[in-house]
């Protein structure tokens, strides 16, 4: 480890709770928009609009890469533990 570098803070419970809250809000929005078809745009509607623009496509691809990197590369010890 280089001078000045820090270890990744490990606070799994708080992290999992915050992520659960964020994903819960996302799924709640999707459920609401699917239940009230037509009045609220679904996430796929929003993503379709965002993907019309190059910057939007870059942002979504970067998000996908970041998730993959965290789950399968950075966290491989956890996911691929024998």
């Amino acid at each position: 480890m280089n001078c000045g570098e820090v270890k990744v803070a490990r606070h799994p419970l708080v992290g999992y709770l915050v992520w659960a809250l964020l994903f819960g809000a996302l799924f709640a929005w999707e459920g609401l928009s699917l239940a009230r078809a037509g009045s609220l745009p679904t996430l796929s509607d929003a993503f379709r609009v965002i993907m019309r623009y190059p910057v939007g496509r870059w942002a979504l691809f970067a998000l996908w890469l970041w998730a993959g990197w965290h789950f399968f590369v950075r966290g491989w010890h956890f996911l691929l533990r024998a």
Partner: protein, 144 residues
């Protein structure tokens, strides 16, 4: 100490990322709900046909344009993520464990695995669709 490192390394980036995603989604929703010219109902929630180089139904796809589109998206997304990672490393927390190297090589590896698989799946799907169209055309020609 524990609380400050938690806020600095986890909470701030998470909130910043969340706000960025929500801002992007909000921008998309705003565009989606903007009244279109000549739209009697005012709200355009139902999206039109998919846009892109391979979306023309019934026609053969333009593989070169599709490859250019996908390459542009992959390179743009990769560079955007690397910019964010470098900004995080030098601006927020100098995370150890070869953070920068892992970001550059790990995401490149993901792209190198995913893009050829996606390309092969797209090619097979398109080939199957074209075969289906050809078979239907032959049936029509034999039984008008």
């Amino acid at each position: 100490m524990l609380a400050s490192s938690l806020i600095r390394q986890a909470l701030v980036p998470m909130l910043a990322g969340y706000l960025l995603v929500m801002a992007t989604l909000g921008f998309g929703l705003r565009l989606l709900c903007r009244p279109k010219a000549g739209d009697q109902h005012g709200r355009g929630l139902t999206a039109g046909p998919a846009e892109g180089p391979g979306s023309a139904a019934g026609s053969r796809p333009n593989w070169l344009a599709l490859a250019r589109h996908v390459t542009g998206t992959a390179v743009g997304g990769y560079l955007l993520l690397m910019t964010v990672v470098i900004a995080y490393y030098y601006g927020v927390a100098r995370v150890g464990g070869d953070f920068i190297k892992s970001a550059f090589t790990g995401t490149a590896m993901l792209i190198a695995i995913a893009l050829p698989l996606w390309g092969a799946a797209s090619w097979l799907t398109e080939r199957r669709r074209q075969r289906g169209n050809d078979t239907a055309g032959e049936r029509k020609a034999h039984h008008p």
